[in-house]
Structures are given as C-alpha cells and as structure tokens.
Amino acid sequence: MGVSDRTVLEVYRYLPENQTEPTFQTYEIDSQDNWVVLDALNHIKAEIDSTLSFRWSCRMGVCGSCGMMVNGEPKLTCETFIRDYDTMTVRIEPLNHFPVIRDLVINMDDFMEKLPTVSPWLIPDQDKPLDEGEYLQTPGQVARYKRFSMCINCMLCYSACPVYGLDSSFTGPAALALAERYNLDSRDHGRKERAATVTAHEGIWECTYVGECTQVCPKDVDPAGAIQMLKLSYALDWAKSVVMPKRGRS
C-alpha cells in the first residue's frame, strides 16, 4: 500500500433545523497510510467542509468520545485505520440505537440517566476514616473486578446490543458491567443496594446473551460476561432465600 490513497467517505449528514431526513454526503480525499478514520474526518472539517460535526478529543482510545458506525460496525474512530478497509468507499454513520443530535453526534442522555441507577460508586460496610489507611486488597482481589473497571463509556456496546435496539428501557451493557465491577470489589458491600435496578425487568434478565457487546468493546471489558456473572450471583441469592429463607445471604 502506498503512502497516500484515494478514499471516498460517505458521511451521514443531518441538521435538524434544516432537514427532516438525513442524507449522505460523499467526500473524496487523499488519505495517508497511517490515518485513522478520525484523521480523515478532521481533514474534511479543516480543509473541505467545516460544517461537518462530530465529537473527539484524546485520539488515543481512552476518552470515549469518537464512537461511530464505520461500514456498519460500531468503532472508536481514533483507533480504526482506513487502510484496514478493502473497499475504496468507507461509510460513516452515527452510532446505532441513539437519537441523532446532528451529523455524527448522538444523544446519550439515556445512558447518562441510567448510569447513576446502578450506584456505580463504592459502598463500604462502614465509613473508614482516612487515618486508618487504605483498604487492603491483594493483586488477586484487584484482578477480580479490574476488567470491568476499564469501560470508557464510549457507547459502542449499546450500539451493538440488539436488545437495547428493540427496547431502550434495558439498562444496558456498560451500566450493568459497572454494577458488577463494584459488586466484585472486595471493598464494596453494595450488591444488595444495586439489586433493585440490576434485577429489575429492564436489568440483567432482559439480556439474551447474544454477546455483541463483548464483541465490539474496544477495551476488552466483556459486558456480556459481567451480565452472566450478575445473573448467576443474584439467582443464587434468590435460590438461597427460597431454600433457606431464614438464613439469606450475609
């Protein structure tokens, strides 16, 4: 592959104050071999069309701003290289399953409202004064929850989740993975508090374990695995309360 290549970008355009329906706009550019999709969009914005709107910041795969559909798949555009697409035309759309504010900018209010409902913060047994030092936690104990703490809230998993696509009341992969992240933390005692949201109809039981969320996660968080673990642990609670109603779970 050469240093620069002719690439055609088909980009979803939508400006609600002027349009009732979205359109696609085609940009032909000379893309460099080391360009990610985001580089191409920034090139268009700086050189060709300054009205094209999209979010981005860190361009190193950690701030979670720049998720978009690239040829139909949810991707972080700052780590998706154009050279990896065989086709000359690359189609860029806003993430599926979200209302579109404008162009490639989605409305993620729904996630921002759901996130606090799973209590994604440490709920200790009792408040420990700072002068008593840190909670001890072995590397093994950190490893239990670490993977689920790596979520950058990029929304790719919601965009891939067929359940969320059909019923947006579903709490969804990233929020549930965070619930399990705290449930698995040896410092935390909040799993009962999280049960109400997590085990509600819109919570874990709605997940049909398609596993698309885990497939598309750019940070290897495995939300599908987290949801399975939640199902198992809360089902066990339930079973214990039926079999041994007086003992319950401590």
Binding site: L15, P16, E17, N18, N34, K45, A46, E47, S50, T51, S53, F54, R55, W56, S57, C58, R59, M60, G61, V62, C63, G64, S65, E79, I101, R102, D103, V105, M108, M112, L115, P116, S119, P120, W121, L122, P124, K128, L130, G133, E134, Y135, L136, Q137, T138, P139, Q141, V142, Y145, K146, S149, M150, C151, I152, N153, L178, Y182, D185, R187, D188
Partner: protein
C-alpha cells in the same frame, strides 16, 4: 433541562469537569451540605483530558520517604521557581488525597500484601508514585466521576461552553455559556466561580494534549484582568510517539526503560545526568539519574542529539529509541500494558520485541492563572485549580506524577475557599444575568456569526498560531525567534477579527466552539511568547540560547502577564522561599 433564566444560579459554579473540577464539586457537595454546586463542562466529564494521564500520582507513603524529600525534589525540579509554601501544602495533603481516592474505589495497583504499590518517577528521590497500571488518569477520573454521581447537590451542565465571566461590582458573579446542543446562550449566576479548565497544549502543533486542551479558562481569567503567571514555562515530554504525539508514559522509564540514540548509546550520560548502570544491575534504574532525570533536561538532550546528527530519521520526524525489551512480556503487560497497546496500534511496533520510536512533544503548562495558596485569584469570587492555575507548585519544570496530585489537593482546596466566599456574598441580580447573556449574544452575532463573506478560516489561523509558537517559543528560544513569534501572533489576532464562520447553525455547532477556542488560544499564545521574551535568563523548561544561565538576582520571580490594548504588560512578583534556598539542580547520583 432548565426552564427559566432566574433558575440558573448556584452558590459555587465550577467550570471544567476533569480531575480538579470533579474533586472540587465533591468537596463542596460532601463537606458543605446545603451549598448548591453547578458543574459546567464543554464535554462530558469522562471525556476530560485527565483521562489521558498514564503514569501515576505522587504522594509519600513509605516509611523510608518523607514529606520534606518530596518537597525538596519538587522544588529542585522546578529550578527553584515553585512557591515553597504551596509545595508544602501539596506534599502534606497528597497522602490523604490518594487514600481518599482509594476509599472511593480507585483500583490502585497493589503489592502482594495488599498495600498500594508505588513506582519510581523522574526527578523523584524515592518510589512515591501511586499508579493504576498505566491508566492512572483514566481510573482517577472515572472514580471521581462515578463518586460525584452520588451527590444530588451537583447539577451538571454537560456540553456547555463558557464564553465569558460575569464581572460586576468588582467581583465575579457567574458565567455566560452556550448550550452546545441547542446553541442557546444563557447566564449562570454564582457567588463563586472556580475555573478547572486544564491547560492549553493545543497552541503547539505537536502535543500529547487532546483536542479540548485550548486554554479556555486561562483566557477567561486573563480577559477579566487576572494575570497569567509563568506562561513561558511549557513542558515538553521526552517520549511521545512520532506522527500522533501520543504519550508514552514516564513509567516506562520508571520500570527500567532506557533511551538510545542512533549509535545505540544511552546518550543521557553525556548531559550531566550520571552514568548508566547495566540493565541487569539490581540498582537499575537508579533514581534521579539518566532516564529518571527531569523532563526538561531530557527534552533538551534530545534536541542536542538531533543537532549532532545522532537521532533517527523517520517519516514523521526525527526520533530516538525507548527500549523496554529487557523488562520482558510479563512485566510489560502487568505494569505498563497501555505502552504496548499504543505502540502496537499507532506505530506498529511491539515493544516486547523492538524499541519504541519516541520524540519530544508538548505536554503541560507550568504557568496559568495566578492564584494564591487557597486557589483565589485577584478577582474576588474567582478561583482556579489544576493545570489552568499557577499556584505555583511546578515552577519552571513540573516533575512527572505531581500534576494528578495537584488537581486533587488544590481542586479540593479551591472548593473550600469558594464555598467560604459564597457564604459571605449575595447572589447576582436577575437583571445582571439577563443583560450579560444579551450582550454576549450580540457580541457573537456581530463577530463570528455575522453574515459575511468568509476570508479567514479557523483552521488556517490555528495552524499558523501553532507554527509560530513551535518555531519561536520551543525548547530552545532566543530574542529573535520570540520577537518573530510575538509579531506573528499580533497579526494573527488581527486576522481573527476578520474570521467569519461557514457554519452559522445553532445545533451542535462545532465550528463555533473551535473558533471560540481559537480566541482563547491566541490570548494564551500571546502571553507565552511575551513572557518568554521578557525573561532574559534560562531556567527549567525556559532555555534562552542568548541568555544561557539562570539569573537569580534578576529572575527568581514569577512573571505576570496582564492583558492590555496591544501587547500584554509583563510584571513580576517574588517567589516564596521558606526552607530551601536556591541551589544547583543535581542529577546523576553524585
């Protein structure tokens, strides 16, 4: 979200929701119940640039370490320009802030016995850098963001861009901001405003900083008459990836990585940074020597090596090599997994098998909004903390892993001062808020949003500004290069007056945001170039080839840039020295 103008009022309004802003918001909400907190940010909190910090946060924890050692290392690292009372506040409060993060759930890396691990970092005498693998900033930011969700008192304004401060009766009484989603311009009143908007590395063309780092808060304060302090001190990090400028953390060297020139030589030994130890020596890497020297010295050494023809030539500029192969795959994956992830993805190098190409890259601004030790500015009601502020704990060169500590310590501290101030003053009048939004709206309609032919573009002016600063105010500068940068920036400011946007729509207008950011960048670029021109000495990151020596009698002082008609006025104030008189910076283990 908000129905009426007069409902937009808070006791304390925090601008910026990165580490400093979130820490400040939690401090008010938790420790001052009944105080209403507004938290406004141009991006969702978890997008803030704190997220990109990698290596760790410094705080004394081990019995063999001491607060005085942390203070001394910081002061020597600053080339004696840090205010020593502020440094003492930093080091004294650092351990509690780290523990507080731990109690809030931060997944710090641990030793086998369950205690928090610490690693060595450049310029630090002992291991005192707390870390969460090499995504420390990410974990710190998300821990703070998720913890902040607990507090109903924190009202967030996500994706709102502040265009000006409301100043009346000699005090700051709120901000005017655009709701980016709707384009609506509104006033938000406040008894106290805390700026936590981060730095402005984007004024340079090649930076580790994300797109959002445009110095907005510094410019807001500067325009309101508050001086910008020590703006000539810009930190170049020695190890960025060519092409993208993505940071390869100093932790790579803290764990034992070494820098090699094109002759395979560990060239730092030629720059007064001590002698290299064998990679198998149990004392490698030796603290405060070689690869664990301070960033200013390492970046300067890179330029000298390049001048001597001892760097590699690459398609994306000259580079040296960072070799971590001897750590082995297991250690790399355990301690610095993101280094591997980034190198593989962005330069196609697996550092388990090959050295990583690296070069110097703009990383951090030591300078910023002049504040006192409580975070208060000279404008009553206005406070600042974090990279946008200059307390000053970093002086002429910041040590790696002190900035995450700074945002926590001074974010919390500024919040306390702001909450105290809020109890003593009355809220702004609705009339003031209404008038402020109205005049700001018409200002934009008659400037950037006027219907006119476009003959200057945001992107054109921005890239000219970036080039002017890199060429004129880079790692090494002199009178000629700086005067050229100053005059270029003056003409760029004139061109900015002629800027007209192509996009005049209201909904999520990113061209408008970029143009407003550019206005801020021009202001801070001007402050950088003029402050650098006026400081005729070399100190820390400010290296004047025409004035190569440090000049304590003349310049053991903070510069203060005041905005004025035409060029800024540069004034000075004394550095606070408590217990550590100015001395030589010694690295190299002797």
């Amino acid at each position: 979200m908000v129905e009426k103008m007069d409902s937009l009022q808070h006791d304390v309004l925090i601008v910026g929701a990165g580490g400093a802003g979130l820490r400040a918001a939690i401090a008010v909400a938790r420790d001052h119940p009944g105080t209403s907190v507004g938290l406004i940010s141009k991006v969702y909190p978890m997008r803030s640039h704190t997220v990109s910090a990698e290596g760790g946060a410094a705080a004394v924890i081990s019995a063999s370490d001491s607060l005085d050692d942390h203070a001394y290392d910081t002061i020597a690292g600053s080339d004696w320009l840090a205010d020593q009372d502020a440094v003492e506040v930093l080091v004294e409060n650092a351990p509690d802030e780290m523990l507080q993060l731990e109690h809030w759930g931060c997944p710090w890396s641990r030793d086998a016995d369950g205690h928090v691990s610490v690693r060595p970092f450049g310029g630090m005498k002992l291991e005192r850098t707390w870390y969460a693998a090499d995504k420390t900033g990410f974990h710190l930011l998300h821990t703070l963001f998720q913890t902040a969700l607990k507090f109903d008192a924190i009202i967030r304004y996500d994706e709102w861009f502040v265009t000006s401060l409301i100043v009346a009766d000699g005090r700051c009484q709120g901000v005017v901001a655009i709701d980016i989603r709707t384009g609506e311009m509104l006033s938000i009143g406040a008894k106290s405003v805390v700026l936590c908007t981060g730095g402005g590395g984007r004024v340079y063309p090649f930076t580790t900083n994300g797109n959002i780092k445009t110095g907005d808060g510094m410019a807001l304060a500067y325009r309101a008459g508050v001086p910008l302090k020590d703006m000539e001190f810009v930190q170049y990090h020695p190890t960025g990836l060519p092409g993208t400028g993505i940071l390869i953390t100093e932790a790579a060297r803290g764990e034992g990585g070494v820098l090699l020139n094109n002759e395979g030589r560990r060239y730092l030994q030629d720059y007064g940074l001590g002698q290299p130890l064998d990679l198998k020596d149990p004392d490698h890497p030796r603290k405060q020597t070689m690869e664990l020297g301070p960033r200013d010295r390492l970046s300067q050494a890179f330029i000298k090596e390049r001048e001597a023809g001892r760097t590699f030539e690459g398609a994306d500029g000259d580079y040296v090599e960072l070799d971590i192969r001897h750590l082995g795959e297991r250690e790399i994956d355990r301690k610095i997994p993101m280094v591997r992830e980034l190198a593989v993805r962005y330069v196609g190098i697996d550092p388990v098998h090959d050295p990583i190409p690296v070069r110097t890259v703009v990383h951090y601004m030591m300078g910023g909004i002049d504040t006192d030790i409580q975070g208060a500015t000279s404008l009553p009601g206005l406070f600042a903390a974090g990279e946008c502020a200059c307390v000053s704990v970093n002086g002429a060169n910041r040590l790696g892993s002190n900035s995450l500590t700074e945002i926590l310590v001074f974010g919390a501290r500024a919040a306390v001062a702001a909450a105290d101030h809020a109890r003593r003053v009355s809220p702004p009048s609705n009339q003031l808020l209404e008038n402020s939004a109205g005049s700001e709206q018409s200002r934009l309609e008659t400037t950037l949003l006027r219907k006119d032919a476009t003959y200057e573009t945001t992107f054109g002016i921005r890239s000219d500004l970036q080039d002017a600063l890199e060429e004129g105010a880079g790692i090494f500068r002199d009178k000629t290069t700086l005067e050229r940068a100053c005059s270029k920036i003056t003409s760029l400011k004139e061109r900015y007056e002629n800027l007209v946007l192509t996009d005049t729509s209201r909904t999520f207008n990113t061209e408008l945001v970029t143009a407003l950011e550019l206005g801020a960048m021009l202001d801070i670029g001007e402050a950088i170039a003029h402050s650098a021109l006026a400081r005729t000495e070399s100190r820390g990151s400010h290296q004047r080839t025409d004035h190569p020596d440090r000049d304590d009698p003349g310049f053991l002082k903070h510069s203060l840039a005041y905005r004025s008609e035409g060029n800024p006025t540069i004034d000075y104030k004394n550095v606070t020295i408590t217990r550590w008189p100015p001395g030589e910076r010694v690295y190299g283990g002797e």
